[in-house]
């Protein structure tokens, strides 16, 4: 085993990790603003993947298909909040809200299976080449460049929105202290709606970039959703940088685990989550909650 081999593993790991990071960011964004763990996040990724496949089958060029896919899944995310979680959040308990997101994930899966069938669906690479590009005897597919680049662009856009825009400031304020945000006149419902939409857009980016790499099925989302949760947990479930680091770390970990056995990858993410939960049982959110509970 030489250096090139490990670089190869590293590239594969980071590519996979980038997708996880996109999903994990969505989880964290929604969780920080609304306190909801959105189990349908993985399904939003799946819908994004399915849509881009359909648009490309219909002959749309990428520059049209990509933005339309992102916009549609953004709207789907908003709709999930507007139709289901928004009306439920006032009377809801932790359990009921979680079950609602679970229900939504089932609805999306079922509809996807009815609409797009059960067989895996494929689409070509965005920039097809005859052979993978070879750099220093490490071969990189063009699609993994797309993935890395795409996720980077998405991260950059998210960063700009959060740091430079009014709605971004409102999002950040709500994620730090929803109560204070409400008191200082921020429309928390609107902010939550945007958070769900943004999480949908991030998932869509992950899904459309991933579509050429794997066969998309209606069930793809639930597996990647779990990976996204794992990545978010590894990152502490509190911060967006944490989610990104967690995603990349999980991707690398899986790529290392695939040396031993390809069946092990899921096990590895479970193990990582369990270890993190054991070492940091309250994580970052724990500290905040204890304080709130005592009513200081």
């Amino acid at each position: 085993m030489d250096l090139a081999f490990f670089i190869q593993l590293f590239v594969t790991g980071v590519t996979t990790g980038a997708i996880y990071a996109a999903v994990a960011m969505g989880f964290v964004l929604v969780f920080r603003v609304t306190g909801i763990l959105n189990f349908a996040q993985g399904e939003l990724l799946m819908v994004g993947g399915m849509l881009i496949i359909s648009f490309r089958e219909a002959g749309w060029p990428l520059y049209a298909a990509i933005p339309v896919t992102i916009a549609l899944v953004f709207l789907l995310g908003c709709a999930i909040y507007a139709l289901a979680l928004g009306p439920a959040i006032k009377r809801g308990t932790n359990i009921s809200l979680l079950l609602i997101t679970l229900g939504i994930s089932q609805v999306l899966q079922g509809l996807a299976q009815i609409g797009w069938g059960s067989a895996p669906r494929y689409t070509g690479d965005f920039s097809p080449t005859a052979h993978p590009i070879s750099v220093l005897s490490v071969s990189i597919t063009t699609q993994s460049i797309w993935i890395l680049g795409g996720v980077l662009v998405a991260l950059g856009a998210t960063y700009l929105v959060l740091e430079r825009t009014g709605i971004g400031r409102a999002l950040r304020a709500s994620s730090i202290d929803p109560m204070m945000a409400r008191l200082s006149g921020i429309n928390v419902r609107m902010v939550s709606l945007i958070a769900f939409g943004a999480a949908g857009a991030l998932a869509a980016v992950g899904g459309l970039l991933l579509a050429p790499v794997i066969g998309m099925t209606y069930a793809t989302g639930s597996l990647i959703g779990v990976k996204g949760i794992a990545a978010a947990v590894i990152g502490g479930f509190g911060s967006i940088p944490g989610a990104i680091i967690g995603g990349i770390a999980l991707g690398l970990l899986e790529s290392l685990a695939s040396l031993i056995s390809t069946g092990l990858t899921t096990g590895i993410s479970l193990l990582a989550v369990v270890i993190v939960l054991l070492i940091l049982p309250n994580g970052i959110l724990g500290g905040r909650r204890v304080k709130a509970a005592v009513g200081v």
Partner: protein, 264 residues
């Protein structure tokens, strides 16, 4: 000022409690000594650290330094439920009743410490446990004593806010604690509910129970109190009898400039 008698141990002795949250000092070297059977009034402007001190005493927050002892036994740093087992009961600023239990069951919960009820015993059996009937009757008597018997089988949400407060207080006293901490029991009550609460506390106090009270209504507290401790920005600035404290210059300064405490 009033040095505690050597013969009588303090019911609750707080010594040198210091607590800060992220560099923000909430309590600084606070001492408080509560004599057995007294009603101790803990006052101070908003943000003085009164509730934090309650949370430290009852084990919900761990202090950075200092000791807490109940009738001579050290409970410093013990968890809330351990402190409760040592005989400390409390109420909360924001009401903490069990919403899915009836009013009588809420009070009954306070009697659980004296009931057997292991898990196998709870799961099996077709018929009535005598203990359960007996203890229910005691819970009912507690309610009856304060005119709430008619609500025994109601849910807490069916009661007025003042009555809910009363239930929480009754629950605290029903566990037959050695010391009870009451955190703003009169907050949010109307005039008549407040008068009713005053009588209740007076009656409970007459039963020789040791009580520590936080309350914003000065007249309410001073009329009940035997001893007073005054906190300001995390430090104790005065302690003594109500009369002594009301004349204390530091206290008057802390409370709205020069107005006397009784008017505050």
């Amino acid at each position: 000022m009033s040095a505690p008698s050597v013969l009588v141990d303090a019911a609750l002795e707080v010594h040198g409690i210091t607590k800060s949250f992220g560099g923000n000092h909430v309590l600084r070297n606070v001492d408080m000594s509560v004599s057995p059977g007294s009603l101790h009034f803990l006052i101070g402007p908003n943000g003085a650290g009164k509730t934090t001190l309650f949370n430290v005493i009852s084990g919900f927050i761990r202090a950075d330094a200092g000791t807490v002892s109940l009738f001579g036994s050290d409970v410093t740093g013990e968890r809330a439920r351990k402190v409760a087992r040592q005989g400390l009961a409390r109420t909360f600023q924001n009401l903490q009743l069990f919403a899915s239990l009836t009013v009588a069951e809420n009070v009954l919960m306070a009697l659980h410490g004296q009931m057997k009820g292991g898990l196998p015993r709870a799961m099996t059996g077709l018929f009535v446990s005598r203990e359960e009937n007996r203890e229910y009757e005691r819970a009912y008597e507690w309610l009856d004593r304060f005119g709430l018997a008619k609500y025994a089988s109601s849910m807490p949400s069916d009661l007025s806010y003042g009555d809910r407060r009363l239930v929480e207080i009754i629950r605290a006293f029903a566990s037959q604690p050695k010391v009870v901490l009451l955190d703003e029991p009169a907050a949010g009550l109307g005039l008549s509910a407040r008068a009713n609460l005053f009588d209740v506390l007076k009656e409970l106090h007459a039963g020789n129970m040791t009580i520590v009270l936080i309350e914003h209504d000065m007249k309410f507290g001073m009329a009940l109190a035997d001893e007073v401790t005054v906190l300001d920005v995390g430090t104790r600035i005065a302690h003594g009898t109500p009369a002594q404290v009301q004349k204390d210059d530091a206290v008057i300064a802390a409370y709205l400039g020069k107005r006397s405490v009784a008017d505050a």
